[in-house]
Symmetry: C2
Subunit: 232 residues, 2 copies
């Protein structure tokens, strides 16, 4: 149809990502405390879903590993539903060898309760202390195992954005970090727009203005393509 | 139209709850740890929304105070969106004086982080301790303030269901407790069915078989009506 035709036109002909296998992670994770309670975060999954959709429009074969969101699985994308950081780790690692580009847009929980109760914890008078432990660092594990894959991470911060983004790029051997300040008006988790800055391993920094998450997704993919061209 | 006609027929003519002001709470609450992280539970809100819808079909004037859910606001119901236990408390208390029946189907968090960080808490190597404190007990506050309102609470448990339900009925001065074992197949948070047992203050206990949440909602309302008739 005509819209698909126009989209193909803007995606390039041949499409920029034809033949590429792209894995996108999206959404929050939930880390259980007991059978009814969990820790999570405000990620809506919209940015990751927009990237998965754009990558499919750009001709890639796309797998979307998604934590719990209210979004529908995009057409033409293989979606794998997970809940915890541990489940996301397993879903991503098991697919990593056959992937060309990993875009980790998920807001994976950094911490989880150290002990998960088998029964609902009953209310008691007074306070309560939850011991938290670090979850597995998926990006770092991928950085250590990479054999030519392009790794793209996200940094959603409330302050010192550039510093954290560059640190993440370095420490996790990433090719690119997409950074945004989640407290800025028009950026962040819940909305349909974002304000991102792209940091590339080769030193290129690209601050982008306020745009829809769909537009931001296309800019990120074009930047990945430009980076692949630049380093090869 | 015909369906509304049929529904009115089953709702009784005149409708069972005509002239009654019903307040229903639904969904989980979210308790912030920092600007991006929160503590919550698996409540989908489906049971509370089904009760609000059924109460409107039964002729009541209905207010639904809802935590974050993926559900749409029901037709003919005034919906008030809240996030935390504290916000739900304020929304319910401010409407309590002009309410006849309160049905508290929400799974309000019992605990919240004692300290809420103004910036995103950065990852550190090693563990981390979250100090939790009790949230305000909405049902208990209502029990202490009631001047003739009918109070209905829920008990979602994983064990010792009857014991907890009767304790709740007594301690919070409730008129009725709707109890379910959330680990039972067909009961609990996510699904469209439920298996409930209704405990009334006047000693009546009514265990119900597996049914849809819509049917369960109607049974709960009919039981409230029967209870009001029995005690007056």
């Amino acid at each position: 149809n005509i819209i698909a035709h126009i989209e193909r036109f803007f995606a390039g002909d041949p499409p920029l990502f034809r033949g590429k296998r792209v894995l996108v992670t999206a959404g929050p994770t939930r880390e259980r405390l007991d059978p009814v309670r969990y820790f999570s975060n405000y990620s809506s999954g919209k940015m990751g879903y927009a990237i998965a959709e754009a990558a499919a429009r750009f001709g890639a074969s796309v797998t979307l590993v998604s934590g719990p969101t209210a979004l529908s699985s995009p057409d033409g994308v293989e979606t794998v539903a997970v809940e915890s950081a541990e489940e996301m780790y397993e879903a991503v690692l098991s697919r990593f060898a056959e992937t060309d580009i990993v875009i980790k847009a998920a807001a994976v929980a950094d911490y989880r309760p150290k002990y998960v109760a088998a029964s609902k914890i009953k209310k008691q008078p007074g306070g309560y202390v939850v011991e938290m432990e670090r979850t597995v660092d998926i990006l770092k594990a991928l950085g250590e195992r990479k054999t030519g894959q392009i790794l793209v991470g996200f940094a959603a911060e409330t302050d010192n954005l550039e510093q954290y983004a560059l640190k993440k790029l370095e420490e996790k051997r990433l090719d690119m970090v997409v950074a945004n300040n989640v407290t800025e008006e028009g950026a962040g988790f819940a909305g349909d727009t974002n304000i991102i800055t792209i940091f590339r391993r080769d030193g290129v920094v690209r601050p982008l203005p306020l745009m829809t998450k769909r537009e931001a997704a296309e800019e990120i993919l074009k930047e990945i393509h430009a980076y692949i061209e630049a380093i090869r």
